[in-house]
């Protein structure tokens, strides 16, 4: 009773009394979930709100027409007008673009974290399905939004997006195409895309986001496989107010700070307005998150009539991804106990990065089938080989450890998180964050090296130094990545994350 309250505590009490946070039924969160990787969904929801605010600002000025209206403005000039003449216009336009990028990037990271962490199991199947639907909505959001300024690049992104609709068969395809693109005339297309981008998709996104947040509230954060061996402090639960609320506010503030700083340091400048002449002079390609699809469509084997088939394959891929919890039924959740699905995941990530970088380096080029097979197959084989080495070494070290300490019972093992403070209790990932960042950077170097080497194969003689450098960069980064993955797996094993 006689405890002295400082100014912060009084402030927290004030908000608690006035808003009744203590009484709200949000679930308590375990301490180990105080780690940014557990809050990617929160950042996604925040990004959606930021998109809404910056988008509403743009809507005040935007004219959805490819030809000049009575105001003397069209889609392109109304956008440049905001950038050049409206207070905070350039800043908000840039923020809108960068938050869209952040949304796509966070979606990928969230997906990868949930896939490799096996959070789609045990009553979370529908959360996974809702997440994949959200990802598709976010892709549609990004694509329709990208089309709206009607630049040469946005036109090509629109063409790729419309190409997806060709996959829908029969009369349903005709209906969907007409519904989304109308007569196909630019004005009709822009009007429809504006409505889809500002009304339909936000509504759908809010619906599925609400559903996912509700399911999260029912199930709470996913448990780490080593949860049972965490120290008592790390297993303890925190009430959402003020602890979790403050933690969320802290990471959200830091996240907004990064986005705002990036928007100020690197303001956008629009590419030229779309016209047949400008398009012929400009090497057009879609935005980065669609480059992987675009690259697949450039494969010679899919050129012309094969395009719907390629897009159909992409559709099947998303369907398989959505149904993952229904065929990955094993109760095992540890990275080391799911070699098949972890290897498949690793192949998909490396292929995605390789296709994206390769697509960026070869705008408008048709890729010969043999080259496509060599790159796609090479990346897959290299990834499988690396994963095999890692799993082989892990098996060996495990068998050695078993021989050395066969008699030691599981409950006598040292609990993890020896320092016992909040930071250390945020299990594992913080410790490996530097390795993770290095891994991602190396992955980019490896993919760039491979793409460059493949592209220069036809003229090795002239470009020999570049070829040698790219092959060396590829080989070195692959070796370093192997070492990093091995370190992460060994560190994970030593913390007891062998199985759930």
């Amino acid at each position: 009773m006689g405890e002295k309250r400082n100014v912060y505590d009084k402030m927290v009490d004030f908000f608690d009394v006035h808003f009744g946070f203590e009484k709200t039924p949000l679930k308590p969160i375990p301490v180990f979930a105080l780690n940014p990787t557990y809050w990617l969904g929160l950042l996604l929801a925040l990004t959606f709100i930021m998109q809404g605010v910056t988008g509403a600002f743009q809507l005040l000025y935007y004219v959805p027409s490819s030809t000049n209206t009575t105001l003397g403005l069209n889609a392109y000039t109304s956008t440049t007008n905001v950038i050049d003449n409206v207070p905070l216009g350039s800043f908000i336009e840039t923020m809108h673009l960068y938050t869209a990028y952040a949304m796509v990037l966070l979606t990928f990271l969230h997906l990868m974290r949930n896939y490799f962490g096996s959070t789609h199991k045990e009553r979370r199947e529908l959360m996974w399905v809702a997440g994949i639907v959200l990802m598709l909505i976010i892709f549609s959001f990004a694509t329709t939004g990208y089309s709206l300024p009607w630049t040469v690049i946005s036109k090509s992104a629109t063409d790729v997006a419309i190409g997806f609709l060709n996959v829908v068969p029969g009369q349903l395809g005709v209906f969907v195409r007409f519904l989304l693109t109308g007569t196909g005339e630019p004005d009709d297309l822009l009007r429809r895309f504006t409505i889809i981008h500002t009304v339909v998709l936000p509504g759908l996104l809010a619906l599925f986001l609400g559903l996912k947040i509700y399911m999260y509230e029912v199930h709470g954060p996913s448990f780490t496989p080593a949860f049972s061996r965490l120290k008592a402090n790390a297993q303890k639960y925190l009430h959402w107010f003020p602890q979790i609320f403050l933690y969320g506010t802290m990471i959200m503030s830091a996240y907004i700070a990064i986005l705002v700083a990036a928007s100020s340091l690197f303001p956008i400048s629009l590419p030229p307005e779309y016209s047949a002449q400008a398009a012929s002079q400009y090497a057009v390609q879609p935005d980065w998150y669609l480059l992987w699809v675009y690259q697949i469509l450039k494969f010679q084997i899919f050129a012309g009539t094969g395009e719907p088939f390629a897009l159909g394959l992409v559709g099947v891929f998303f369907l398989l991804l959505m149904l993952l919890p229904f065929y990955d039924r094993s109760s095992r959740r540890g990275i080391s106990s799911r070699p098949f699905f972890i290897t498949i995941g690793a192949i998909l990530v490396t292929e995605f990065v390789a296709l994206t970088i390769w697509g960026y380096l070869t705008p408008g080029q048709v890729i010969p089938t043999l080259q496509a097979v060599a790159v796609m197959g090479g990346v897959a084989v290299a990834t499988i080989a690396i994963m095999q080495i890692i799993y082989g070494q892990r098996k060996e070290s495990k068998s050695n450890a078993t021989n050395n300490a066969a008699s030691e019972p599981l409950d006598k093992r040292e609990p993890i998180s020896p320092s016992g403070n909040l930071r250390a209790e945020a299990f594992g990932l913080g410790r490996n964050s530097k390795l993770t960042i290095s891994f991602v950077l190396l992955l980019i170097v490896a993919a760039s090296g491979l793409a460059y080497a493949i592209n220069s194969l036809s003229s090795v003689g002239e470009m020999f130094p570049g070829f040698l450098l790219s092959v060396s960069a590829f080989a070195c980064s692959m070796a370093l990545m192997t070492w990093i993955v091995k370190r992460v797996v060994v560190s994970y094993e030593s913390q007891g994350g062998t199985n759930a």
Binding site: Y8, L88, G89, L246, A257, V260, S264
Partner: protein, 89 residues
């Protein structure tokens, strides 16, 4: 020891609050058409300082506070303020 830490927390929090107020007042007078980048960089500094303030508040024990994060945060603040000066020139 704990009293020293409480004092340290209070002092550093007051510094962040003063920084937040000064920058907020300055932001009020920034030209929103011609100095958009300055506005954005200082707004980013506001969010960074606010994030650091919450971080310091959350860490009730000296062993929980990681000085590395404080250091990175303060360096980020200095960078943002310097960049806002550079882009305004």
């Amino acid at each position: 020891m704990n009293r020293n830490y409480d004092e340290f927390r209070s002092r550093i929090s007051v510094l962040f609050v003063i920084f937040l107020i000064i920058v907020a007042v300055y932001l009020w007078f920034v030209d929103l058409l011609l100095q958009q980048r300055v506005f954005g960089l200082l707004l980013s500094a506001e969010f960074t300082a606010f994030s650091l303030l919450i971080y310091v508040y959350r860490m009730e024990n000296a062993e929980d506070l990681e000085k590395r994060w404080l250091f990175i945060g303060v360096i980020a603040l200095i960078f943002l303020v310097l960049m806002s000066i550079v882009v305004s020139l």
